[in-house]
């Protein structure tokens, strides 16, 4: 099955291919980078994060496709640095039009820690159902599993994620999560820059629990005003990889 035009049409019904993912390996830690999103963060064979991305929704919860202005990947022996600069245009994904907002998603990764920074600069009033960074946890090892939550007021809670799909959000007001997808892999995930909560995305047939900014109980859509800046950060730290002591 070729990757030529007819081959693509046979497979996908369109000759437009998706951008190929770039695979990054740092010791036992690996992930892919595709269309400005981090995907499939693994320790060895164990997937600990399904994805981290900047998600810019339109007022109908449709997803904007940003125009990529620049992307950079630098991989050294024990460190990777990736960034994508983008903007949204008043004319949608096609070139031309005025810039609605500019943004950058930046990833700094070592063998034990991945830091994702999102910066948005709003140029023209921008109406959105939600704009920010969102993180997906995979299902294997996570469904029904124990999870520790640190709330923004400093309270800690230990709970279990649901087996049966929860109609409402399983977790609110998240500052930090800690979970162990397997007995010997523990990860800690920190969220900064907004109020984050979790949704059981299996409701929509996504294979993930999503942690996203801005509580659903707040009014939508909302307006990001010209001149506003959005700065958010997610840090995934490997507390115990089962490979190193402690």
């Amino acid at each position: 099955m070729g990757t030529d035009g007819p081959g693509l049409i046979r497979q996908y019904g369109t000759a437009t291919p998706e951008p190929a993912p770039c695979h990054i390996q740092l010791g036992a830690l690996s992930f892919a980078w595709q269309s400005g999103a981090l995907r499939w963060l693994r320790i060895g064979d164990i997937e600990i994060v399904r994805g981290i991305a900047a998600v810019l929704r339109d007022p109908q919860w449709g997803t904007h496709t940003p125009i990529v202005d620049d992307k950079r990947i630098e991989v050294a022996h024990r460190h990777a640095s990736l960034a994508q600069d983008f903007h949204l245009s008043t004319d949608g994904p096609d070139a031309g039009g005025e810039s609605l907002l500019r943004g950058q998603l930046r990833i700094e990764a070592t063998e034990h820690r991945v830091t994702v920074d999102l910066a948005l600069e709003v140029l023209i009033d921008f109406t959105t159902a939600r704009s920010g960074v969102s993180m997906l946890l995979p299902l294997a090892g996570v469904v029904g599993g124990e999870i520790q939550v640190l709330h923004t007021d400093g309270q800690r809670e230990t709970t279990r994620l649901p087996h049966l799909i929860s109609p409402s959000q399983p977790l609110f007001d998240i500052r930090q999560l800690q979970l162990s997808p397997t007995l010997d892999v523990t990860v800690k995930i920190d969220f900064e820059g907004d109020v984050f909560e979790m949704e059981d995305q299996r409701n929509w047939s996504d294979a993930s629990f999503k942690i996203y900014n801005r509580p659903l109980a707040w009014p939508t859509p909302y307006v990001l005003g010209a001149g506003d800046r959005v700065v958010q950060r997610v840090v995934v730290s490997v507390v115990d990889s089962g490979r190193t002591p402690g």
Binding site: R10, R202, N203
Partner: protein
């Protein structure tokens, strides 16, 4: 890319049969009943789920043609009715008059007040008009003998947030859309991982009630979360679109077979895939790959399922006993874009065909058949579907 060889091993009988397999149909979007008839003849769906929006005069005009075409072919029609929010009895009475004198009656009906096509947060403000339960009671008066459902013509989210009383429904139903939140190829295929959890969660809401998954395809026919669908010229992979290009490619066939494998082994009673005509068309004079896959699954609906093992997440497979007791039909779909090595074990391979190209349907593949029969490894191309007829050589319980 992983290059592990996937070995197919057949197991014993499963506890459930292959569900009824059917197609959807939007009565307000049908404009050629002749084309519909050709599609019915080509696919022979075991049932039809017809969306009937009573706010559309065109939907009611097309109803007689549908009921006649379906009756001529003994295909049961399940009506997914959208009714008025404030006068359900009035709008359903219009439907009752239309149905008088038509072949039928329908096999069952789900009645949804229009406002319930939208999604509401569990703690949010819900519509003030007729509830789905009240609409069902209004339908019960008009059709005391008819199977009346609980659930939604949209997605499991809406059902999970507005749960019917299981004692008041004759079946439970919802659709699945794999492009609500993400539309890239890998995310769409990954939705298959969550499908067993959806089936288990829905079953838990009504454990003994027949469970019918209604029209499901790579697309969304309506947007419960906003005012409209995402515009698409038919070439873009975008969320919440009713014109996804992959519906026309092998991708949709592979996803559909993967979906059927998940829901069949999870024990649903019926599954409805794609539609005859828009929004999730399967092609007419030349079927899309997904149309060929659905036609093959429709033929096998109701056959006893067989367990099988096939390592790795890249492949989906299902198997059933054919009318010839000793012969098992096995379908294997490659869910990935990369070729996957395959090896079969302990079975006598009688026949092999593959779904590879648009329009052609399943075609024999003699060289692949010879290699697998000789105990060699061969490769399943990206999104390709294999159809095998095998005889179990092992000491399985059916020998």
């Amino acid at each position: 890319m992983r290059t592990d060889v996937h070995t197919l091993r057949l197991g014993g009988p499963a506890s459930t049969p292959l569900p009824s397999v059917g197609c959807g149909l939007w009565l307000d979007r049908i404009n050629d009943l002749g084309r519909l008839a050709r599609q019915l003849d080509a696919v022979m769906p075991r049932h039809l789920d017809a969306l009937l929006d009573l706010r559309s005069s065109r939907a009611l005009e097309n109803l007689p043609g549908l009921m006649v075409s379906a009756a001529e072919r003994d295909i049961p029609v399940w009506l997914y009715v959208i009714c008025d929010d404030h006068d359900p009895t009035g709008s359903l009475s219009t439907l009752a008059r239309r149905l008088e004198g038509l072949p039928g009656p329908p096999a069952g009906m789900l009645v949804t007040p229009a406002a319930y096509l939208k999604s509401y947060q569990p703690d949010g403000v819900w519509p003030s008009g007729t509830s789905p339960g009240q609409a069902r009671m209004a339908a019960r008066v008009l059709w005391p003998e008819l199977a009346l459902g609980g659930g939604v013509p949209t997605y499991f989210t809406e059902l999970n947030r507005c749960r019917p009383d299981p004692s008041s429904i004759d079946f439970i139903t919802h659709a699945v859309s794999p492009i609500v939140h993400a539309a890239d190829d890998r995310s769409v295929m990954e939705t298959l991982q969550s499908v067993p959890d959806i089936v288990a969660s829905c079953r838990a809401l009504a454990p003994t009630t027949p469970y019918r998954i209604t029209t499901t395809a790579i697309g969304a026919w309506t947007n419960p979360y906003g005012e409209c669908l995402t515009p698409n010229d038919g070439s873009q992979r975008v969320t919440l679109s009713d014109d996804d290009p992959r519906q026309r490619g092998l991708f949709a066939a592979a996803w559909g077979v993967g979906f059927m494998a998940r829901v069949a082994y999870a024990g649903v009673n019926a599954a409805t895939l794609s539609s005859l005509g828009p929004p999730f068309d399967i092609g007419a004079d030349s079927l899309y790959p997904v149309g060929h896959a659905i036609a093959g699954l429709c033929r096998a609906a109701g056959q006893p399922l067989r367990q099988l093992k096939l390592g790795g997440a890249e492949l989906a497979a299902l198997a059933w006993q054919t009318e010839l007791l000793a012969v098992i039909e096995v379908w294997i779909a490659n869910l990935s874009a990369d070729a996957v090595p395959l090896y079969i074990e302990d079975v006598d391979l009688l026949e092999l065909s593959r779904l590879t190209a648009m329009g052609d349907g399943f075609q024999p593949a003699p060289s692949m058949e010879a290699r697998l029969r000789a105990g060699e490894t061969d490769r399943l191309a990206g999104f390709e579907i294999l159809r095998l007829r095998v005889q179990n050589l092992g000491s399985g319980p059916d020998c």
